[in-house]
């Protein structure tokens, strides 16, 4: 066991949303869908087309490149090196946060979807709040849900005395609020209630009579009066706008000759203001109080203060419980084609989704598996093998081709290229600016189809040996790959395939490398949503009608009407590289 604290290993998927590709000032996100589609497809071309071309080109010339160790890369963005940049880190997400638009046939990340509100509910009592009362209740629960002023957990209403069977319920009071987490209770701040119900209403009343609310209304009336009296506007729009110096000269004129322009003189003078309240300055008292302080326990933290924005008190005892803030359910739309990607059930209690197009159901799920008896965490200069496990969520078998950014082909290693005649063989091993070398022992392989019975199968045949798994499921693939260790396939069963990757870290620091994943599968029918199975009928029709536009998308190659292909980048992090001598 290592105690080294470093970044944990991860697999992040890259969303090629328009932001990065043309990071310029032009309004990419204009509401006009047509123009957007254009930029979108252009972006796609710039990002993915060169990728495929360079990979194929380099594969032809791999031999020539052998000696060119320091060959600078032609276009970093084309080869995936851009994934290591700081900009790209804003577009890298774990698979769980990504969506997949069927119409665009693209990954969609949180920044390329549009949110819409479906319903409001209280996260504590799960009461669905109608839109009308959301506004009047200021986005807070109008029932008996409160949060603790100290620890922001939920408070419960407690009776001061236990209600005995003999007493009537009314005599059980007074009631107070109590926190089950930090043991705070509202008796500490002298807050008790006679009835255990509609506490929110009682609290809200005090909220409305706070001095700042009164003063605000007073100010509003004052300014409103001024606005009514003075037709011409006065206050400047910005610090230095010379847009209408007329008003200025009027002001000055009136100021100098108050005789005949008295009316205009009022323009700028808001008039004498009578405040509604006066809140005295108790700053010096607070300073004295703080001076003799020995421990900070009685002083509120900033977040506690921010829960009571009208006075933000230093004293913890001045902070009151707040009603619990409501939550919303959101639906999400693809910004490009306006189709809905996520649509939850409206009811607060229901966790089901009416539409759920998450990337997890469309693209292979990649996970990192540590091999037994291999050094981990990675050590400088020591070749380490680990396993990348690709899980297929589709009902069709998947052909996967992997590539890492190309830098220099290392001589004398590996094999593989023989088997793939139908596709250009991919160079399998590169040294990149990534901190070390990455070797994909098997850049091309198949992953079996998903079917519902797999889960039961697993139960029936608990993890057998690799041989058994292969005999049962391997070899049935179409790629002509024989699944053996020679090809770097570690395990191939059910709907997943594990392949072996070897890395040689050369520098200290976090080890990351980009990986281009291209997969294709045969879609044998028009059934669009194979795995989630809960798409609306009409959406399916829309999808079919949209087929033409999809062809324009360069990342989609429909060589055969049946074969669908998609490629995406991901960044794989393997944690901190330690010094070799540390063991």
């Amino acid at each position: 066991m290592s105690t080294a604290v470093g970044p944990p290993p991860f697999v992040h998927y890259y969303c090629a949303c328009p932001d990065l590709s043309n990071n310029t000032q032009d309004p990419r996100r204009s509401p006009e869908i047509t123009s957007k589609k254009d930029t979108e497809s252009l972006d796609e071309k710039t990002t993915t087309t060169p990728t495929t071309s360079t990979t194929s080109q380099t594969s032809q010339s791999t031999q020539h490149q052998q000696q060119q160790k320091d060959q600078a890369n032609i276009d970093a963005s084309a080869t995936g090196r851009h994934l290591l940049s700081t900009q790209a880190s804003n577009y890298l997400y774990p698979l769980s946060r990504l969506y997949f638009c069927e119409d665009c046939h693209q990954i969609r990340c949180p920044s390329c979807v549009q949110d819409e509100i479906v319903s409001y509910y209280c996260p504590n009592c799960l009461f669905e709040v109608p839109t009308a009362s959301v506004k009047s209740e200021k986005n807070r629960c109008a029932r008996n849900c409160f949060q603790c002023p100290i620890c922001q957990n939920t408070l419960s209403v407690v009776a001061a005395q236990e209600a005995t069977p003999s007493s009537t319920p009314a005599s059980a009071g007074p009631y107070f609020l109590s926190c089950n987490v930090c043991r705070w209770n509202s008796k500490e701040i002298d807050m008790t209630f006679e009835k255990p119900t509609s506490l929110a209403l009682q609290l809200q009343k005090t909220e409305e009579t706070l001095p700042d609310a009164k003063e605000f209304d007073n100010l509003k009336d004052h300014l409103e009066k001024h606005l009514r009296l003075n037709v011409p506007p006065t206050l400047p729009t910005s610090f230095l706008s010379f847009s209408s110096s007329g008003a200025f000269s009027k002001m000055m004129g009136s100021h100098l000759h108050q005789d005949n322009q008295s009316q205009q003189g009022k323009l700028d003078d808001l008039g004498a203001y009578e405040p509604a309240v006066h809140v005295p300055d108790d700053d010096s008292k607070l300073v004295d109080q703080l001076m003799s302080l020995r421990s900070v326990d009685q002083v509120s933290t900033l977040s506690q203060r921010f829960s009571q924005l009208h006075d933000q008190p230093y004293q913890l005892s001045h902070i009151h419980p707040q009603r619990i803030h409501l939550c919303i359910k959101r639906s999400k739309r693809c910004r490009t084609c306006r189709h809905i990607l996520i649509k939850p059930e409206q009811k607060a209690q229901a966790t089901r989704f009416k539409i759920k197009l998450v990337a997890m159901n469309y693209i292979p799920n990649i996970s990192i598996v540590k091999l037994p008896r291999k050094t981990w965490p990675l050590q400088q200069g020591i070749p380490t093998q680990f396993v990348l496990k690709f899980t297929n969520p589709l009902y069709e078998e998947m052909n996967i081709t992997l590539a890492t950014p190309q830098m220099q082909k290392k001589a004398g290693l590996a094999n593989t290229n023989d088997n793939e005649q139908q596709q250009p063989p991919l160079p399998q091993e590169y040294e990149a600016q990534i901190r070390g070398k990455v070797t994909l022992l098997s850049p091309h392989f198949t992953v079996g189809a998903y079917n519902e019975t797999i889960e039961y199968d697993d139960e029936m045949y608990p993890t057998g040996s690799n041989m058994r798994g292969r005999s049962a499921f391997g070899g049935g693939g179409s790629g002509g790959l024989s699944s053996s260790w020679v090809n770097g396939v570690h395990e191939k069963r059910n709907n997943y395939t594990s392949i072996i990757v070897e890395v040689i870290p050369e520098q200290m620091g976090e080890f990351q490398f980009p990986l281009l994943v291209t997969y294709n599968y045969k879609s044998d029918e028009d059934r669009m949503d194979v795995s989630s199975g809960d798409i609306d009928e009409e959406d399916i029709e829309d999808v079919d009608a949209d087929d033409g536009s999809r062809k324009a998308n360069s990342s989609m190659r429909l060589d055969d009407d049946r074969i669908k292909s998609y490629s995406f980048w991901c960044l794989i992090g393997l944690g901190q590289v330690t010094r070799a001598e540390s063991i």
Binding site: E224, S245, Y273, P275, L309
Partner: protein, 451 residues
Amino acid sequence: MTTRPPVSSTTNSRLGSFSSWHLSSLPSSSTLLSRRTSIYSNEDRVVLDIGSRNLKVGFSGEPRPRKILAFEGQRHTNVCWDDLYDLDWMRSGRDITGAETTLCETLQEAFFRYLLTDPKQRTVVLCETPMMPIRIKEMIAKILFHRLQVPALCFVPSHLLALLTTGESTGLVIDCGHLETTVLPIYFARPLMTSVQMTPLAGRAVTETLRDLLKSHARIIQTSAGVPTSAAPRLTVPDHILSSDRLEDIKSRCILIPHGVTNVSSSDQEEQHCRSSDIYYRLENDIGGGTLWIPGYVREKACTILFTGDPVEEIRSIGECILDCLLKVPTDLRKPLGSSLLMVGGTTMIPGYQARLLQELNHLLDHVTKYKRLAGIELGCITDRGAGRVFTPSCRTWIGGSLVGTLKMAGATIQREKFDGSVPDWTMVHSPTSTNTTSSSTSTSTSNANS
């Protein structure tokens, strides 16, 4: 509600009597106080006050913001920026996309987690501080229009908003936030922009001072069972203990500004004369526990930088800024402005700030020859009269924005359809004929002032 046309720019009767006062130095008015019916909805607008440290958000017509959201630190390989932006963006070597992502996520969170409203239906009122880099303003507009698709956005000057909350129209507004302190005189609701003074001494400077002081003076007490606290070993404070979150916590809970302390005494004397108690601050989040012992001297000393300035780096103190500002305004305005100081911004909420600043100002008036010309001016705060401290200083700007929003005063409004990537920029002087909507000024302004 009737729609009133914006004032036509009829220009005449310029006056030349103020020789010391260039006419062009005064911003003239346009249409903030005019009423316009909103094209979209006369519902509440969303008021945003975006600072470098946090974001205040809420609906217009309400006396307080709904939520103050802190920006999450942007972590890159080795560096971590806690602030959304820097005053000197170009020299900080920062990547703008990081800030954009942070801002975007925070705004998204503000709308969908706290306001619970669809941004597509809400006009946004944005409180604009004078020193905010133009690129940040453009970024904000871009995110609001493109990502959140708000129908319209209007910029309103923050100092003026703060002054509105006092009900007066003349005052010297001192905004002491996180990155910088700006002093802006406002006379009859007109910001006298040419007299604006700015110093980079504000919350961040306090945090840095506090860090240094803690490193040199505070100690960690490793408590263990059986050993009394007094006998426990005292260790110097390692860097990782002083994370920015913890510093912020110590800053907001422990430090104070005592009154009646002059700057002349040497630090040794100060250490003896400090009246504040030492504080034992528990380090809860670290395994092994331990207590941070913060001497009273550190608590009192952390804020001194604001009032002494930095003579080595030639950074003016806040007091000097205020007096320099008064020197710059026309003579007859000095008196009304000097008696109407208004302190806003989060840093002014440190206990004792206002009293100490007034004391410092009077000290400067008496002892510095440069300020002899200001003799006879009585300095006083607006908050000492009228409604007093009814609003918290940190929220005053937002509250002003809320007032402006609910009264439907029109500022420089950009509609989404007309947004071309540029935002109004007060440093650009437009011709009088240009309208008050989108200024055609392109982005090359130099708001990233650095003294």
